[in-house]
Point group: C2
Chain length 191, copies 2
C-alpha cells in the first residue's frame, strides 16, 4: 500500500524533478511521475497537485506564509529591513541540506521552459506581494513596504542561486545573510 506512506508529496516532487531533468518537462507524464515516486497512481498524484507544472511550485503558499508570519511576529521596535531579515531567516532555515541538490536540478528544469520561467516569475512576484502586505499590516507605508519586500525576494533568490550553485558546507541562511548584506550596501551606494 505504497500510496499511504508518509512523505508522498515530497516523493512526488523529487520524482518529477528527476524525470524533468532526465527527459524534459514536456515529455514527462503524470503517470511516469507517480510511478517513479514508488509505484503510486495518477489519482494519488492529483490528490496532491492540480497538474504536473504545480509540482515544481508546491512551496509557494508555505513560503509566503513563513515570510508573512515572521513579519507579523517581529518585535514592535523592528525597522522594515530588520523585519525582512527575520523573515529571510525563517524562510531560509526551512530549507534543509537535502533540498540543495533538488534545488539545483529544479533551477535547470525551470530555465529550460518558457512556461516554467513565467510560472517562476509569478511565484517570485507572489512572494514579494505577500511580504509587502505583511509589512503594510505592520504600519509600513506602501512604497517602503514594496521596496523592502523586493529586497527580501531578491536576497532570497540570490541566496538560493548561490547555495544551489556551490558544494560547500554553508547553509542557505548564511547565504541569505551574505546577499542581504550586499544588497543593503548596494542600496546605500545607489544614487
Amino acid at each position: 500500500m505504497a500510496r499511504w506512506e508518509p512523505n508522498t508529496r515530497e516523493r512526488l516532487v523529487r520524482a518529477a524533478v528527476e524525470l524533468f531533468a532526465e527527459q524534459g518537462y514536456e515529455a514527462t507524464t503524470v503517470n511516469e511521475i507517480a510511478e517513479r515516486a514508488g509505484g503510486l497512481t495518477k489519482t494519488t498524484f492529483f490528490r496532491h497537485f492540480t497538474d504536473k507544472r504545480e509540482v515544481l511550485f508546491a512551496g509557494q503558499e508555505i513560503h509566503n506564509r513563513i515570510m508573512s508570519e515572521a513579519i507579523a511576529e517581529a518585535p514592535e521596535s523592528a525597522t522594515p529591513l530588520e523585519m525582512i531579515g527575520l523573515a529571510l531567516d525563517g524562510l531560509a532555515s526551512s530549507f534543509t541540506e537535502d533540498r540543495r541538490d533538488i534545488g539545483r536540478r529544479l533551477r535547470t528544469v525551470i530555465a529550460s521552459s518558457a512556461e516554467l520561467r513565467e510560472r517562476s516569475a509569478s511565484k517570485r512576484a507572489a512572494l514579494s506581494a505577500a511580504t509587502a502586505q505583511a509589512l503594510r499590516a505592520r504600519g509600513v507605508s506602501e512604497l517602503v513596504a514594496d521596496l523592502a519586500a523586493e529586497l527580501g525576494a531578491r536576497a532570497f533568490y540570490g541566496a538560493f542561486d548561490r547555495w544551489t550553485s556551490s558544494a560547500d558546507a554553508r547553509t542557505l541562511v548564511e547565504y541569505a545573510h551574505e546577499v542581504f548584506g550586499e544588497l543593503k550596501t548596494a542600496m546605500s551606494s545607489l544614487k
Copy 2:
C-alpha cells in the same frame, strides 16, 4: 481590402482588449478579434501574433528596447538612478493619451485571469532584467544594477496604474516622475 490597411496590429490589440472586457478572455476567439478589428481574417491575426494571449503583451520587446537604449545613450557622467530616470522618460513618453483608455481596460482584463497575471509578471520581470543588463553594460555592478532596474520597473508600473486610474490632463511622463521621486524618497528612508 481592409487587411492591407495601416495600423492592423494596433487595431487587433484594441479589438482584443474590447472583446476580452466585454465577454471575457477565455470566451473570446481569434476569429472574433480579427472580425472586430475591421473584418480581418484569422490568417492576418497570426501574421502579427502567435496567439490571443500575446496580443495583450505585444509591447514587451519594444519597451525593453526603449529602456535599454536610453541607458546605453545616457551621458558618461550619469549615475545609475539618473540613467533609470532617462529610461523611464523614454518609455513613458512612448505612451500617447489615446493609450490611456485601452490601458485601463487592459488592467481589468489581466486582473481577471490567473494565466494573464502570470504572463504579466513575466513581462515585468523581463523589463527589469533587460534594464539591469543595460546598466551592467554601462559598468554598474550586478546588485546595484538589479536594484536600480527594479526601482525603474516599480516606477513605471506604479505610474501606469495611476495614469490609467485617473482622468486628469497629466501625462504618463509626469506620473513617472512623481512615482520615481516617491520611490527615491522611500529608499532613502529605508532602514
